[in-house]
């Protein structure tokens, strides 16, 4: 190829004035100047490619970093934390020598452009983060947000996203044990596809992403590298270096779950034989990210021969190879004496593996192409010393008016018939309706360790050890409506709800991961929402004693100037000594007593009732009392351990009636309810006060249970009994289960048909 000379380091040093497309690559003028300053010369095309992707918002967290630091600074003391923020995923000690790693990530934009593949590769990406920690992935969860349920585009996006998650996750053999489905017009054009994964390992198997030991080999394995997801690189390649190339490369990748399944098995086998010194998955920014992170986290430098990277498309330029986001690839650092065995294992699993470089005793990352050195950088400057912005933020001027528009002023049902009708309307609204059309497309059984999934429990639960019954639970929650009304409180409510959901199943909450979905950080109002949400979450985690172990930030979720609701999605992980003791949500035995735990106040701001009945969003979200949440959690855990409750269900959107209807439908047994003293029927049914749960208590346990609540100071009010085949509110209405089921089921299918 005799066109333009290869842009080597030497060439770059000799041609300082060459125009470079830094702006097209998304770099600011200052950022480009800084790169030149760091290098003491202009970057080569390959270096520019690396810096531009690694310094992007997505990879560098440049707008969010200054705030995310709070998660570390305010982290509560926790003996459970084994690996914290900064690694591919956090790791938590769950006892008996086991460690659990978990993380949530977003794949929002690709899922809008190509719902199936966007969502599928989202699952693929988060699972590779889990494998990269040394763990066997054991479950996935999928918190989802879509535009209005009846919007025509939702019919395109939702089935595609669900099929993508199901197609990829099922094929990997990972049970799907939780998630969320929320509809709101604010997500039109910006659906949120968050995906979480959990992995289990023994303590001694924890692996980190670092390249140490001069002479150790760098092995790239998995799929061949192709021209996926390198829109930016092709600008470089086509407009500056080679005009003959197609100028646009698609920014969406096609996933190959089968290849990823092989990657899981062969990586785990290599771990088992202790062949791996350091490991990194290839996700966003592909090889640029993997090589610079491995090198900068290790002790030495790294030298890479880019010609050795197996390609799917032989016309790729070195810049494109460095930026390619081809899926299903991993990078391992292996001692020379173990390379043969490593390659053998890859061969056994039909996985392509190639030594592409080695760890050096210098401190530079050097990359060669056709014999020329095209990258010579301090890897830290690429991976960790990107720009950091403290972007301006300001409470938006509309916030006061929004909060003043109190939902308590909305007209309420005037008689029993209206009350009854609104209950039906609520349980049949898209957000409150059954999501079984979606969850039935997910395999929740594979691996044979799923104890709770779907609607069975407030959190998903899996068994970790078949002998002892040790298990873990996970719940993800986030209410954008609450967060819009008050982002600080909204983030804490998300945390409180996930925490409560884990405790409701009998598991002890241990740690948090999060996915922070927001609009553009360049809008001071959005930035304020972000800052408030992070502060709320960090403060909340400190108070609850559950450290944030990792997470993800997704910004620019907006169309024009219209941003999505601020949507912090919080995942809480918990541990349970014996999964046989878990508490499901189902009312199963007639005659058991229904207790409401916690205090109910007239809180309707952001409520499902205000949305469903009045299409209204205004006022303040429910108040948060994290001490109360903690106490409620302790009671629920004790009650599960000592067999005092048969069912427990947390109260959140939709309030008490939604929870009772779900528990009744799940168990196929009705409930007779009485409005407790001091409350009106409407508030009793629809309030969304936090820190509450309903439980069903066998009569033989009633005294023990109420004594415990009394002694610990948790309000416990007897509100009814499990009975019959209807949900009845005494003196007000009776709703046969069949009618409730009819209203609750089939809603989503109906909208998509």
């Amino acid at each position: 190829m005799s066109r333009t000379p290869l842009d080597t380091v030497e060439h770059a040093a000799g041609t300082p004035d060459v125009e470079q497309p830094w702006a097209e690559l998304g770099l600011s003028k200052d950022e480009y100047a800084r790169i030149r300053e760091i290098l003491g010369r202009r970057p080569t095309g390959a270096e520019l490619a690396m810096y531009s992707v690694m310094w992007s918002e997505h990879c560098s967290y440049k707008s969010s970093k200054v705030h995310l630091r709070q998660f570390g600074e305010k982290a509560p003391q926790s003996e459970a934390m084994l690996v914290g923020i900064g690694e591919n995923a956090g790791v938590v000690d769950v006892g008996q020598g086991y460690a659990v790693t978990f993380k949530v990530e977003s794949h929002n934009h690709p899922s809008y452009v190509e719902p199936y593949q966007g969502a599928a590769t989202g699952v693929g990406g988060i699972v590779r983060d889990i494998i990269a920690m040394g763990a066997r992935p054991v479950a996935v969860v999928d918190p989802l947000r879509f535009g209005a349920a009846d919007h025509p585009d939702t019919r395109r996006v939702l089935p595609g996203v669900v099929a993508g998650i199901s197609g990829y996750g099922n094929c990997l053999g990972l049970p799907n044990i939780g998630g969320e489905v929320v509809f709101d017009a604010c997500y039109q054009g910006n659906p949120l596809v968050n995906a979480g994964a959990i992995g289990v390992m023994r303590h001694e198997d924890i692996h980190l992403a670092k390249a140490s030991g001069a002479g150790n080999k760098v092995i790239l394995y998995g799929a061949r590298t192709g021209g996926d997801g390198i829109g930016g690189a092709s600008i470089l390649a086509s407009e500056t270096f080679d005009d003959a190339k197609p100028s646009k490369r698609p920014a969406v990748q096609v996933g190959d779950p089968f290849q990823e399944k092989l990657l899981i098995e062969c990586t785990l086998e290599a771990f088992q034989e202790k062949l791996v010194v350091g490991i990194q998955d290839l996700g966003a920014a592909g090889l640029s990210c993997a090589t610079s992170e491995l090198a900068s986290n290790g002790s030495g430098g790294m030298r890479v021969e880019l010609d050795d990277v197996p390609l799917r498309d032989s016309t790729l330029s070195p810049e494109e190879i460095l930026m390619s986001e081809s899926q299903e690839r991993m990078c391992a650092v292996v001692e020379p004496s173990k390379v043969d065995r490593f390659l053998e294992i890859c061969e056994k699993w039909d996985v392509i593996a190639t030594v592409i470089g080695e760890v050096t005793d210098g401190d530079r990352l050097e990359i060669y192409w056709h014999g020329g050195k095209i990258v010579d950088v301090d890897p830290r400057t690429v991976a960790h010393e990107g720009p950091v912005y403290d972007r301006p933020y300001a409470r938006p001027d509309w916030q006061d008016a929004l909060q003043a528009d109190d939902a308590a002023k909305l007209p309420r049902p005037e008689n029993a018939d209206e009350l009854r009708a609104q209950v039906l309307q609520l349980v049949g609204s898209p957000n409150q309706a059954s999501k079984s059309w979606i969850t039935s497309q997910y395999d929740h059984l594979v691996q044979g360790n799923t104890v709770l999934a779907r609607t069975e429990g407030d959190s998903g639960m899996i068994r970790v050890d078949e002998e002892t019954g040790l298990g873990v639970a996970i719940a993800t929650d986030g209410n954008g409506r609450y967060a819009k009304l008050d982002p600080y409180t909204g983030a804490q409510l998300a945390l409180a709800e996930a925490y409560r959901n884990v405790a409701a199943t009998g598991a002890k909450p241990l740690a948090v991961s999060d996915c922070l979905n927001f609009g553009s950080p360049e809008d001071p109002a959005v930035m304020w929402q972000f800052v408030e949400a992070v502060r709320g979450l960090a403060d909340g985690c400190l108070q609850l004693g559950t450290p944030v172990t990792g997470g993800n930030v997704s910004l620019y979720n907006q169309t024009g100037t219209a941003a999505i609701h601020p949507t912090p999605v919080v995942a809480v992980l918990g541990v349970i000594d014996d999964v046989a003791r878990r508490t499901p949500v189902a009312f199963r035995e007639e005659g058991q007593l229904i207790y409401l735990l916690g205090d109910t106040e007239p809180e309707f701001g952001g409520s499902a009732w205000s949305q469903v009945v009045h299409d209204h969003l205004g006022g303040l979200p429910p108040k948060v009392d994290l001490e109360r949440e903690r106490l409620l959690g302790e009671i629920l855990i004790s009650a599960s351990r000592d067999g005092m409750v048969d069912a427990a269900h947390d109260l959140s959107d939709g309030g008490l009636i939604q929870a009772v209807v779900e528990s009744s439908l799940e168990g196929g047994v009705g409930a007779r309810l009485v409005v407790p003293d001091g409350l009106d029927a409407f508030t009793f049914l629809f309030s969304e006060s936090a820190g509450r749960a309903v439980v069903s208590v066998p009569r033989s346990e009633e005294l023990r249970f109420t004594d415990m609540c009394g002694a610990r100071g948790l309000p416990a009010t007897r509100i009814g009994v499990v009975d019959g085949d209807a949900v009845e509110l005494q003196g007000e209405f009776t709703l046969p289960l069949a009618e409730l089921r009819e209203a609750h089921q089939g809603v989503i299918e109906g909208l998509l048909a």
Binding site: S166, C171, F258, S440, V446, G448, V579
Partner: protein, 233 residues
């Protein structure tokens, strides 16, 4: 001597560990078999497990069928070795023509995972003798390509020879597991070969052996049936 039951792992097999667990719970010794090995390690019976071997690319089971292990397995199955194909295993057996017919994309086009009511139509096969003929059981089902299809002649022949081993039960509420989940012709969920040693079905009995994680134990008799048969043989 304990009964040894092989479980083949193909690339992309998922429920192989679950099948091994079920075999263990039933009291036999599971033996891992590898798709690249022609050697069946002298096992007494073989389970082809569920999953997405080769990603279900081309057609479910189409590529696995050409694995080295299948060469041996086909010969031995014809000679009487008991073989159970679960889900993807059933699809592989159909592709090898050890069992007639084919599995197509579910009529609703989605992957479906649910508890499914079945009737045991043939309790005389190597894998069903611990059931009663006509017994109704609840077994989880999970697949995307489970629509059993064959031409009318084949279907009539299967019926006439009593080779429909399991049928989806349709006369009850959906919520209780009734209904044809995929459009299978004549509600066929599983079939057997003439000799009764090779059985394939779409639902997953290996996921119904522990009440804690499977919602019941109706699948256990598959494994106890074969153990009894082998022990008494």
């Amino acid at each position: 001597m304990t009964t040894r039951i092989g479980v083949v792992t193909f690339p992309g097999s998922l429920d192989d560990r679950d099948a091994q667990r079920a075999i263990r719970i039933a009291g036999a010794e599971p033996v891992a078999l590898w798709h690249k090995d022609k050697d069946l390690k002298q096992v007494d019976a073989v389970v082809l497990p569920g999953g997405f071997s080769y990603g279900d690319y081309l057609r479910a089971g189409a590529i696995s069928r050409f694995s080295p292990v299948m060469e041996t397995l086909i010969d031995q199955a014809k000679a009487g070795l008991p073989v159970l194909g679960i889900c993807n295993g059933f699809q592989i057996l159909a592709e090898t023509h050890l069992l007639p017919g084919a599995m197509l994309r579910n009529n609703h086009l989605h992957f479906i995972c649910r508890e499914q009511k079945l009737r045991v139509e043939n309790a005389a096969t190597a894998w069903t003798s611990d059931y009663e003929a006509g017994q109704e059981i609840l077994i989880p089902l999970k697949n995307a390509d489970g629509r059993y299809t064959a031409d009318e002649y084949t279907l009539d022949k299967l019926e006439a020879e009593g080779r429909v081993a399991f049928r989806y039960l349709t006369d009850g509420p959906d919520a209780d597991g009734y209904g044809n989940p995929n459009g299978s012709l004549r509600n066929i969920a599983g079939i057997t070969n003439e000799a009764g040693n090779v059985v394939g079905l779409m639902p997953h009995p290996e996921h119904a052996v522990e009440s804690l994680t499977g919602g019941g134990t109706d699948g256990l008799p598959f494994f106890t049936s074969i153990i009894k048969k082998l022990v008494s043989a």
